[in-house]
Amino acid sequence: MTLLLVVALPFTAAIILALVGARLGRYAGAFLAASLALSFGAALAIAQAFFAGKISLIADTGIVWLPLRGADFALRVDTPMVPVLVGLTAVALLVWLASLGVRDEGTEPARSGAAFGLTVGALLLVVTASNLVLLFAGWELLAVGTYLLVADRRDRPAAAAAALRSLIVARVGDSALLLALLWYFGTFRTSDIGELAQRIDGFGTQPDAVARLQAALLVPSLLLLVAALARSAQLPLHVWLPETAHTGTAASALIQSSVAAAGVLLLLRVAPLLSRDALAAAATIGAITAAFAALVALAQSDRRRLVAWSTVSQVGLMFVGAGAGTTSLVIVQLLAHAFGKSALLLGERVRGRRAGALALAAGALSIAVIAPSLLTAVALSVLLTGVYTARLLRLSAAPRHERPVGGALALAATVALAVTALTLAVVTASGSPWVATIALAGLATGVAVTRRAVRPPLPVWLVAAARSGFELDALYRLSLVAAFDAGARSVERGTERVVAWAGDAFGLRVARLGRQLERAQRRYAGAAEALAIAAAAALVAFWSLR
């Protein structure tokens, strides 16, 4: 029941705000804050139950949603996901509270609140769904919620285009997830994640069956990986996140801290269903993205885009961990990144002591998440991620009295961000030297840059190329978008014209035939009688010949 509350409250708040939000006016924000606080409280209650010794919690309403086996409204939480649940609800609550004092132009509290609630609810659904169909529903609603959040700034013309791009890329991932879902359901006849994991584990005893199973699982696992890549803005589906640089305070904080991590959450949740090669591929792609995005982030001169690219990079590091199978470390990293990144983004706009204190509390909370044994390994990764904050501070070269709550906040953000890099020891322990090399390269870049205190020691041409994301955006626009447009245009002008012509030609033939018959009838007035005699003769002949 409590678990249902955690997920249902943000959704209900979003629906109410969508329907009557305009009437609530200024209190819309407070209404959503209250719902999020209740949701957070429910999550804390669940965490308390787990501390008292529970291992897993299932909330099964027994209501069948779709007539597929296993597609019920049922939620499930296991021990690894409890900190995620608490952390995400806390981040959502703190972000919304901190943004209450900020007025973004072109938005309204009711509309932003509805989109925010929808996104948070969808994210929690992804974390707690017990079957693949409900997971897909949460995934898709997350895409729609992100679209609404990004499109919310009505005063920015780029907002709608960026929102469209985010949804199209998300839909690519969604259809991959759909195909994987269809495959799993068709093969194992159930969509419940627990049952699927059991059936796949059940093959573990026979070695040749395991080999065949791994080969069969490869394609759906890759499809699930594509879905995760699309949501978390990893290569090659990363083009939507840097475009969201203009979004409002709360929206950008939520998207970059939590929504971008949803891909990692997907991988963690369906890990028992994936083939080993797919997990290795996840780690590789994550490492490549981390290095690539770090390079691009260093070359940015726009503050918001730098933060977006840094998110891409750090989620890449989380993918490395998810691919290596170190669930608890990835969760620590995820939570610390969520808190730290939101603190960073809020710190830009939020002024005043109250909001600053809230953000500091968020940063402090993130420190509390750190397990002490990790501190040594974490120190190595401080260099890579601290670079972003240092560069960010340099870019905020505003006069002192205009600078938002800076120093302590940035320190908290830096420490929290530092926690988010995964340890090299873990990486090398997973046995893939390729992955370790790339991560080392990223770290080396970070070390080199830090020693130079912020200005990247890279040649000008590299910086210029990196600033635009190595022109991948333009490449996509030329290849995919242009190809799509050309294909649609040729189909419209070609096949559709033929179909319309065929229909018209058929109609013309019939009309012409009718006119000819009419003319013939007039010309041969006695034709009707002649036809009748001929028909009678034919019938007589037919019957006599039978």
Partner: protein, 469 residues
């Protein structure tokens, strides 16, 4: 009793609408006829008593007056009746009201007859007859292209349904009866089913419309006034899907199974094709026409895959398509009233002036592109899951529609509502909201609780589990 009443009541309403004295009440009478059909179908769903009537006309041929309402026809009739009621309510300022609403009720009566007929001759009569008043409605009250559109509507559908008569004659000769349920119990030999299946399917494929035979539909939807467009897209397509599922599938299962690969390929290609073309459209009505076409190919996919789950999905997707396309057409009309044209290039930035319209339009587009929580998603997912077993390739291709649908849906939203304000207008009035509310409520209801509809489908309406190929 209920079945005959649901045909007779709209007929009586048609005659009432034609009376000169009460011409002001023609619109409420027409709307009430639609609501009466909804109420009778709801009664049929809820009641356990038998609802059918059976008498014999021509015992030598085996034809008779057999009407009955079962779960599938009752559920689809609820949707069709609702569409007719809302369409009548939306026909506010039409010239020659008496003729218009009389023809409207006539179309409703004949289309309802298609759903309740359980005798092949009766089915065929209602099937062909429903075209005539519809064509008159398009011819007389349509827009610029109306003559050509009405001609193509009639010619294409008549040409497609003509082979159905051959099937009727074949079955009358082979089995001596034309009662659908009796024929479904005693099917003709499996080897001989292919040709009759193809001929029967041609009628439904032309009206649905299935991919290469869709030439008449976009033109008809653009030329017809919005309420008549509702009937064409919602009523005709629903009747075609019903015919596929409840007439050709029970009578010729092996024949349809043999021909299934071809039709599945056509449906999968057609879904992507229609979605691709929809992204290029500038006229909102043409965009809705191609969006509707894309959704109907998924219905065809489910019907031809012929597994129990895919047929459930096909019925669900049909109901969903009816309400979604009706809502889209009404919203297109509302946008056009504010921007003075249906062209997307004339619209822009409406969200600032009409936020409620923007929200409802986005919600309906979400229903069209298959966002979970709307009926479009429920129908698509159940259909694809049911079709995946025997036809994984076609299902994979059809899943690509998700991506392309998002393109055309959200590009439409962006061009109408976002961006610099090229157009302005007042927000939705209470009348317009009242028109849209039942449709949107149904979209969300069927999305959140689709078992309300799929549980009503009787198990003998679903194909039995066949041996795996």
């Amino acid at each position: 009793m209920i079945a005959s009443a649901s045909v007779i009541i709209p007929l009586v309403a048609a005659m009432l609408c034609a009376l000169p004295r009460i011409s002001r009440a023609a619109r409420p009478i027409a709307a009430s006829a639609g609501l009466a059909v909804v109420a009778l179908s709801g009664l049929a769903i809820a009641s356990e008593r038998s609802t059918g009537t059976r008498t014999t006309w021509a015992p030598q041929v085996g034809a008779g007056f057999a009407v009955d309402v079962d779960g599938v026809s009752a559920s689809l009739l609820v949707v069709v009746g609702l569409l007719f009621a809302i369409g009548a309510a939306a026909s506010a300022r039409v010239p020659h009201r008496r003729a218009y609403f009389a023809l409207w009720c006539l179309v409703l009566a004949l289309l309802t007859g298609v759903f309740v007929a359980r005798d092949l001759v009766l089915f065929f009569i209602f099937w062909e007859a429903s075209l005539v008043p519809l064509a008159v409605l398009v011819w007389q009250w349509g827009g610029v292209d109306r003559r050509a559109a009405a001609t193509r509507l009639v010619l294409h559908n008549l040409a497609g349904s003509a082979p159905f008569l051959v099937v009727v004659v074949t079955l009358a000769v082979a089995r001596g009866t034309l009662d659908i349920d009796t024929l479904a119990a005693r099917r003709i030999a499996p080897g001989a089913q292919l040709l009759p299946a193809l001929l029967a399917v041609s009628a439904f494929a032309m009206r649905l419309p299935l991919f290469p035979l869709h030439g008449w539909m976009p033109r008809a939807l653009v030329a017809a006034p919005i309420p008549v467009g509702l009937v064409i897209a919602g009523g005709l397509a629903t009747s075609a899907a019903y015919g596929l599922v409840r007439v050709s599938l029970p009578l010729f299962p092996q024949g349809m199974s043999t021909a299934a690969p071809l039709f599945m390929a056509l449906a999968a290609i057609g879904a992507l094709y229609a979605a691709l073309i929809a992204t290029r459209q500038d006229d909102l009505r043409r965009l809705v026409a191609y969006a509707s076409l894309s959704q109907l190919q998924v219905v065809a996919l489910g019907a031809f895959a012929a597994s129990a789950m895919s047929v459930r999905g096909a019925v669900l997707a049909t109901a969903s398509h009816g309400v979604v396309v009706a809502a889209l057409l009404l919203l297109a009309g509302m946008v056009a009233r504010r921007t003075k044209s249906f062209a997307l290039s004339r619209a822009g930035g409406l969200a600032a002036a009409t936020p409620v319209l923007a929200m409802l339009f986005t919600l309906t587009i979400c229903g069209a592109i298959g966002v979970p929580g709307t009926s479009g998603f429920a129908g698509s997912l159940v259909t694809l899951a049911g079709a995946f077993d025997r036809f994984p390739a076609a299902t994979d291709a059809a899943a690509g529609v998700f991506i392309v649908a998002a393109v055309y849906g959200l590009v439409a939203v962006r061009r109408v509502f976002h961006g610099p304000p090229l157009a302005t207008g007042t927000d939705l009035g209470w009348r317009e909201r009242a028109l849209l509310a039942p449709l949107l409520a149904l979209i969300v209801l069927l999305g959140v609780a689709p078992t309300l509809l799929t549980d009503r489908i009787p198990s003998d309406a679903l194909p039995a589990v066949e041996a795996p190929r």
